[in-house]
Structures are given as structure tokens and as C-alpha cells.
Subunit: 458 residues, 2 copies
């Protein structure tokens, strides 16, 4: 008989009731009750496993009833719906094949390991409740994003990771080489496979703009890289980045898109991952479901940078970093805006040009740019967005002002020469989004195998 995913039984218990099935997976625990036994079996396809009921007279009962956690078995039996019990069905086993029994060296013997310990067991941690839930939510959220954009006619562009320019000026970059970099020999960029210096891209925005100015609405979704040596709970050196770009969109439509996207994914998760969200709500972030319900049902606040600063200034006495017009909005200010003032996600828009990137569209005040950050409670900045400067001369002027090398931007500038139009886009760190919807507070615990300073095992 073919193996049946345990998830399939949960999807329609009634239709499986009394049917013979074969399930296979890993033992979480076994209880020997003398005349019969219970085995909690998880095959990873659903958050909850299946309770297997073992008759003590069953062939091999002695061995099965003594199995350690992590052992793999194949179980042939019958589904029995148990609508009044804690678990909605059981599987009464006719036969259990032990595929591979673990011994006491199995690292996940006992329950309740710390996340720190589990980070050292990254290759095993998806077998735990917490990580099984995180990775399923991550997967479903990624799918929901693809579905959201596909439904709206966005083209998915798989932009390159290897880049020859540090165009965004987004901080330190990883260098990539095909030469023997530890030989001590003097290496030359022109001897590289690509004939020049090459880096890992921190953003696909510029490439995304080229595609938006051809195909209308596009998004990229792939890994991005920052080489900073920063050990925080919000930074990883390799992270997944979603970067949509829309021709003819102004900043308002850009904000509308972000808001609709986030609500879409949250609604999708409520539908597809209710067990996982309940678990996070109980054990990871109390009130998570209420928070996400509020997010999906409320309108996000929208406030200009200038007004946000006025609000923050009134509270300057309580801030470590005092705010005034022109300064960056720091973590404590983000917290105050999102958690005290608005109690929901907030778009802050029209930032001073000095604190934003060169490509952002200058407002007519010549002081601010059409940029917005989406700030959310608990996380801070979730998305960064802007209308892009579409005027050739203004953009060139900004490139000169910031002493960037005009030549590095030849094709990006050309986009402003050849049928330039208004366009906007944004970037969202997907890992941070997963943190937000699961309540998990450390980025190391939402990435499958996180890459942070000193940490590139597995």
C-alpha cells in the first residue's frame, strides 16, 4: 500500500474513517500501557502527528513499544475517527515495521530544548514542533506571495546574484573569485572568470527597474547578501528578499500594493496554517493571532516624516536619541510610533533626501524624497520603498552630488532616456516578515540554515 501523508487524513477525517492506511514517519514518543501502547508519529507533513494505537499482542510489540524518539517506522493500520477525544483520530496498527531505531546518541531525546541548542542541531531542528511550524509557515507565506503577485499579472524575474557593481551603496559586499585567494599571490580582477571584480548583490532593484520599464509590473524574490559583521537578532548575511517594481506607479499605489500584499499573505496563513498560528500564539508570542487579525482588518497608518517627527519630538524626554527634522528614525522611535501611537503598521513617507538613496524621486520642495518605510510593531522596518527618480538630469545630478561613479550607472541612466516613466517599487526582507507572522524573535530561527558572522556550518 502506498504511504499516505498524515496531513491528508487531517484534511478529511470522515472520509478516511475505518479505511486501511499506511503511514510512515518518525516516532516522537511511545507509551507502553501493558495491554496496548500509544505512539506519537510525525511524518512532517502536518503540524500535528498521528496517534498510533498498538495492540500488545501485535507482532513485534516489545520492540516497537521501546523505541526511542527519532526512530523511523512504517505503520499499516486503520483510521478510527475519535471526534470526542483530544486528537480527532487514531490509527489502530495492524503491523509496524521498524525502519531505523535511534539509540541514546540521538540529540533530540528529551523535549523542551532551547533554541540556542537547536541552532547547533540545525540539520535536525525541523523535526521539532517549533521549527516544523516555522518552516511550514515560511513555505506557505512564500507561496502566498507568489500567488498574490501572479494573480495581479506581475512577472517574476529571477535576477542575478552575481553583480559587477555596488550600485545601491548598500554597505559592505561579499567578493566572489575563481582564483586561489589564500595563495598569497597578487591577484588581478582581470584574471577572474568574468574578467573583473564581482560581488554578491545586496539588491536586485536596478535590474528590476529595467524589467518594469519593459513588462509593467515585476517582482524579484531570491537571496540577497550583506557582508556586515553585525550580530543582531534582525540581521543575517544571507537573507531572502522580495523586490517588486511597477511602471507608472506613484508612491501611493506603491503603499497600496505593500498593504494589500501583507494582508493577502496573513489571510492566506489564517486559512492554511491555523494550527501553526495557534501554537505560536500559545508558546512564542502571546497575542499573535489578535495582532495579525488587527493587521489584516485595519487600515495601515500613513504619516509624513515631518508629522512623525513632530509627534516624536513631543516624547523626546523619553528617548535616548532625541529626534529633530533631518535625523534617522531609530529603533526606539519606530517602537513608539508603531506600538504606542498607532498600534499597527505605519507608513512614514517623504523623508529628507540626505538620509535616503540617490535613486529616490525628489519632491518639488527639493528637500524630501518620495520614499516610504513600512514600520511594524515588534520588528521595526519591514519594507523600504520609493518612487524612483525618472528624470535623467535630476538623477545624474544626484549621482554627482553623492560622488558616485556615473559610468557604473550607464544603463540605469539610459532607462531615463529611452521611454522613461514614473515608477515605484519596494523591498521586503522575507525573513523579517516570517518573524513578524510567527512571533519568532531571532532571524536565526526562521532561516533554514542561517548565515551570520562565524556561522556557516551545514
Amino acid at each position: 500500500m502506498e504511504k499516505l501523508d498524515i496531513a491528508k487524513i487531517y484534511q478529511d477525517i470522515k472520509s478516511w474513517d475505518k479505511k486501511p492506511v499506511t503511514v510512515a514517519g518518525w516516532v516522537r514518543s511511545v507509551r507502553d500501557m501493558k495491554n496496548f501502547g500509544f505512539c506519537d508519529l510525525n511524518d512532517g507533513t502536518s503540524f500535528k502527528g498521528a496517534q498510533i494505537v498498538l495492540d500488545a499482542k501485535m507482532k513485534g510489540y516489545d520492540r516497537v513499544s521501546k523505541l526511542n524518539a527519532g526512530s523511523s517506522i512504517i505503520c499499516h493500520g486503520r483510521v478510527v475517527a475519535t471526534p470526542n477525544a483530544k486528537q480527532p483520530f487514531e490509527i489502530h496498527a495492524d503491523e509496524v515495521e521498524v525502519v531505523s531505531a535511534t539509540d541514546e546518541s540521538y540529540p533530540l531525546q528529551k523535549k523542551g530544548h532551547s533554541v540556542e541548542f537547536l541552532r547547533e542541531q540545525a540539520y535536525l531542528r525541523p523535526r521539532t514542533n517549533l521549527f516544523n511550524a516555522v518552516y511550514r509557515v515560511r513555505s506557505e507565506a512564500a507561496f502566498a506571495l507568489h500567488q498574490f503577485f501572479n494573480n495581479q499579472g506581475f512577472v517574476y524575474v529571477q535576477a542575478p546574484i552575481l553583480t559587477s557593481s555596488d550600485c545601491e551603496g548598500a554597505g559592505e559586499l561579499f567578493k566572489v573569485s575563481t582564483q586561489d585567494i589564500y595563495s598569497g599571490k597578487k591577484l588581478k580582477p582581470e584574471d577572474e572568470l568574468f574578467g573583473k571584480s564581482v560581488y554578491l548583490s545586496p539588491s536586485c532593484q536596478l535590474e528590476g527597474e529595467a524589467f518594469a520599464l519593459a513588462m509593467g509590473k515585476i517582482y524579484t524574490f531570491g537571496p540577497s547578501f550583506r557582508a556586515e559583521n553585525s550580530n543582531t537578532i534582525k540581521h543575517a548575511n544571507e537573507f531572502w528578499h522580495i523586490e517588486p517594481e511597477m511602471a507608472f506607479y506613484e508612491l501611493k499605489e506603491d503603499m497600496d500594493t505593500m498593504e494589500a500584499m501583507i494582508k493577502y499573505v496573513i489571510n492566506y496563513l489564517f486559512e492554511k496554517c491555523p494550527e501553526e498560528l495557534k501554537f505560536f500564539d500559545s508558546f512564542v508570542e502571546k497575542g499573535l493571532i489578535a495582532k495579525l487579525t488587527n493587521v489584516k482588518d485595519s487600515q495601515f497608518a500613513r504619516v509624513s516624516y515631518t508629522d512623525a517627527i513632530k509627534t516624536l519630538e513631543k516624547n523626546n524626554a523619553n528617548f535616548e536619541y532625541k529626534v529633530s527634522w533631518g535625523c534617522d528614525i531609530q529603533t526606539e522611535h519606530e517602537k513608539y510610533l508603531t506600538e504606542v501611537v498607532y498600534k499597527k503598521p505605519v507608513f512614514v513617507y517623504d523623508y529628507p533626501k540626505e538620509i535616503k538613496a540617490f535613486y529616490m524621486k525628489l519632491n518639488s520642495d527639493n528637500k524630501t524624497v518620495k520614499a516610504t518605510d513600512l514600520l511594524v510593531p515588534g520588528i521595526g522596518e519591514l519594507c523600504g520603498a520609493s518612487e524612483r527618480e525618472e528624470n535623467y538630469d535630476v538623477l545624474l545630478n544626484r549621482i554627482h552630488e553623492l560622488k558616485l561613479n556615473e559610468k557604473d550607472y550607464w544603463w540605469y541612466l539610459n532607462l531615463r532616456k529611452f521611454g522613461s516613466v514614473k515608477h515605484s517599487g519596494f523591498g521586503m526582507g522575507f525573513d523579517r516578515f516570517v518573524m513578524y507572522v510567527t512571533g519568532v524573535s531571532n532571524i536565526r530561527d526562521v532561516l533554514p540554515f542561517p548565515r551570520t558572522p562565524k556561522n556557516c556550518e551545514f
Copy 2:
């Protein structure tokens, strides 16, 4: 009025008939017929653009009727269904705003540029019919893949690109560094951000196995890297790679999954991209639609390596490389099997262990491994697959036989200690798949910005 995607009008021409609309995009061509004019407008949202009818009495007609290709406009007008004409609707313009007019420096003035020329204009080429079609099909195929796996309960794992091990031995790797690699100073791996040598991963399989042995069925889909200096039409140094991995699957189920996946995506493309496929059939690969129809409606052939060799040996007189049991199957042999013998995709399975990777499951003959390659007409190898060796001792023995470093595989080996089960997986180069379904013969023309030796501009 809000801008309407031209694709939306194509989706339901009747309901838009006689309605006022605003469309915006780029001019492909304008014809001035004295009393009126025609403008072929494309906004990138659909393969076909919209024909705009311009009344010569319209304000600004003189300017609009002289616009160059590539100019951007916003057009306010009315949809008029023209069911008996070549194009199914027109838009009768009331007003046209010229957003940005190109001059004669616009590189895509004339029609019919060579793909070689267009590669040098990679930032503009999605504005052409060919590349618009390729990139939309690429996007829809990627979405269909996600949908196929999501529907079947596979978890999408976003595995890391940065890796500290060359585990698959898949050839030359790109090195990644945070140090000043062109300084001529002697650098040490321990001074890197990660404290050791780090590479760009050629495959996420090993990480995928860890997740499959926890969550049942998973897939990865992201960029992979090979540093080879090979200039062929089938190789890029950065390519998109889909790598599913399934616990409790044997090789037969692995083949079933590949076959179902490919048929699913082709069916999806027939539904979502009929115009694009027609275009490829007419201008890129004659007979493409018949080929794909045959693929989706036929059963893929399945032949053992041993039997395939027998078949090939009969034709040895016509091969440059003569085959015999134990040899690799080369391009000319793949061609013969797929295009002459079977005329459809072929799984060749049970290869000699000597020509396959260490992790593939040994058959009881101790000579062959449970590996299969999916060969398709025109492309050759599209997928590589195998059951993975799940026996600790056998795997360790293979690692020693091949003189690999046991320590590099500590966690991979541990997976065989802690609840090991049968499992299988495969890898498909997504770019090659796009080549296959579009008929485009050079991998440089299906990637948004291809990375090949000496080529890392944009």
C-alpha cells in the same frame, strides 16, 4: 482614471467594449495615414499590444504621429471590439500624453535585431516580442512549479547559497570573501567573516535531504553556481535550480514525480501562455506546440542504462564516441535515444556507480546505483535524480572509496543514524526547462541577465 493593464482587456474584450480606459506603455510603431493614425502600444503586460487609433484632429496629433519606437505615452480613450479584424480590439484615443519621447539614439529603433545584438542590450531586450514572451513564460513556469509542489504538500525550503563545503564535488566553485582579495597580502580563511573558507553552492541537495527527513516532501528553488570556464549554449555560471527531495520515495516514485511535474507545467503554459507558445512555434522552433503536446500526452519512456547501452551499441558505427557498458552517455547518444529511438523524454536508470555521485543508492548487484537521468529531445539531460544511500555503513564506505573527507559529511552521515529512511530526489536546471518549452537554443536568452565567462555586465 487609473491605468489599465492591456492584458486585462484581452482577458475579457466584450466587457470592455465601448468603455473608457486609460492605458500607458511604450510605442512600438506609429503609422500616420493623414486623416488618422495607428499606434502599436505595448505595456508589457501581454504579448500583444493594443492598436491605438488616433484621429488627426486630436490635440497633439502631429507630435504623437511622429513618435519614435520606445517612446512612452499615456492614452485616454475607448475600447472598440473589432471581432472581424486582425486584432480583436482597438482603442480610439481621445487624448494622448507623451511622457517621454526617444530620439534616434534608442537602440531598438528597427525591428529584427539579432539575439547577439540584443544580448548587449540586456537591459532593454525585455521590450522585444521574443524576450517579452520568454520572460513571461519563464515567470509562469516558475509559478506553475510552485503550484505543483504546493498542491501536493511539499514544503518550499529556501536553502542557503553560501556554503562551507564542496559536498557534491560538482566541479569548480566560486570562492566568497570579505577580505581585500586584490591587495597581494597573504589572506587566511580564519580571518573571513564566517571564520573559514566559504563558497557559492552548486546544489542544495544535502540540506534538502535534512529537511525531507523531517518534513516528508520538500523542494528548493533558487540560484546555483558553477565556476567552470565553459562557453556552451547550455551552461551558465549562475542558474536557477529546482531540487525536490522526498522521504520514503523510491526511484520509481521519483520518476513519477518528475514526469507529473513536467506535464503539469506544460499544461499550465498551454492554458496561460497560448500566444507566446504560438509565437515560439512560428518564429523560434517550428513544431514546438506539437512537441509539447506529445510530451504532455505521452508516457515518458523508461529504460535501464544497460538496455540503453545495448540499443546504442547497435548504432556505434554512426557515433563519434563509441559506447560500451560503463561509459558516460554523451550528447550524440542522448540525441539518438530521444530523437531517433523514442522521440520523447526518456528516463535512463540504474547507471554504473563509477560514473555517478557518492550519495546514490547502491543496487544489490554492487555495480549500479539507483540513479536516473531524464533526457529530452533537443536539450539532453534535463533532470538528474537518484535514490539516496540511506545505509550509514554503505555511505561511509563510498565516501572512503572516493577519498572524500569523512569529517565534511558529519551531519549528512548522522542523518543515516537518526531515523534513516529511504528517500529520493532530483535536480532540474530551470533555465534548461525554459529553453525546452520555448525552443530558445541558447541559455543566454532565457536568463534575465546571464552570467557566463567574461560576461557580468548589468
